[in-house]
Subunit: 215 residues, 2 copies
Amino acid sequence: MDYAETVTTRRTGLREQKKQATREALRAAALRLALERGPDNVRVDDIAEAAGVSPRTYNNYFSSREQAIVAAVAGEREARVAAAVADRPDGVGLADAVIEAIVDQYTASDAPGADALLLITTRPALREAFVGTTTAIEHPLTEAIAGRLGDGDPHTARVLAASVAAAVRVALEQWLQTTVSTCTAGGLVVPSGSLPDLLRATLAPLRPALDAAEQ
Amino acid sequence: MDYAETVTTRRTGLREQKKQATREALRAAALRLALERGPDNVRVDDIAEAAGVSPRTYNNYFSSREQAIVAAVAGEREARVAAAVADRPDGVGLADAVIEAIVDQYTASDAPGADALLLITTRPALREAFVGTTTAIEHPLTEAIAGRLGDGDPHTARVLAASVAAAVRVALEQWLQTTVSTCTAGGLVVPSGSLPDLLRATLAPLRPALDAAEQ
DNA sequence: GCAGAAATCTGCGTGCGCGCAAACTTGCGT
DNA sequence: ACGCAAGTTTGCGCGCACGCAGATTTCTGC
């Protein structure tokens, strides 16, 4: 929940260094254990023990059992989406900047954690946590949109960011739904290639709102 | 979560009748106890005991402790919003129908539970649960919008409904924020009169998207 | 270096959410 | 009227989330 130090490693150093280390250890341990045994057969005590910390400490980093597993695949996608929106050249419109940035980030991150994604699509509790990560992009996205809108009403940026995040959530829900049904029916892996198209199609209805805000 | 019987009291009757009775008893007990003592000094066991059911039964009706308290003021606003959208004459545009229906429902319901609202604005956990009720309007709103759009793409209706719900959530968050700060600073009750204006202003950026979907 | 301040880790206790299976209630067919 | 099927309630147990306060580690000023 704290992205202020991701760039310049602010703050004295040894503290934040250890903090990030244990956070990463918890992430890795959670994902590894979830893949080895089923996701249901892993308690927070196991994760904490594998990471070498107290069970109580786990909840100082993640507020739910699923967050650690989901964090491994979701990562800091939120901040990268915002950065991607801001990095688009000024020539392209707001709608294209936002939509393409989101599509890029959500398709690029699929390759590394493909096995983890398959795991997430299986268990409903994990799917819910994964879908819940979309709300995390709201704040960074708000600032990115506000930066592109210039001196406009900051309320508008916030509403648009929330709407975009909601649309992304809808796309993910539908993608997971069709994915699991495909798995059940065909028995093959996920057709991740359709995610970009689905995102574009789902975000399309918001284009008029984004265009109108630009004036 | 089950709105199929709200109109015609379908299903044999005695079962659903008792079900609604205990649900209402739980709601009332939760709100009463929360008002008497502080909201933090009421356990689910107390609510269940006051309603005359087992503590386990409570979680058959509400999946969290706050839901019962919030449900008292939130009620079945979801279904009524959808009905209000559908009831607007065909002459008015989709944007006006949606926005005015929402404004109506969110202002009309404020009067009865004014004291409860003040309670909710105080405790952060309750505010979160109250804000969370906005996602409940997504499904009914989707069908209402789809009905007005006619034979258009059902995806569009879903995205628009999700965006509208997100915007409502943003408005509620901001309203609660300014409300609590006003209370802290001035020490007076909430300026509920500004909610309609805030809703209208927050939903305004989505007008172009709603208008465009209508064609 | 060295105290004092600040942040973090940890054990403990409480309450909550929920799966499970047994008792009980209600509805329906005959 | 009666018995079976379906639905609901309840007790039980497990694991999770978190506040609290003490111990421990890290940072800062001197």
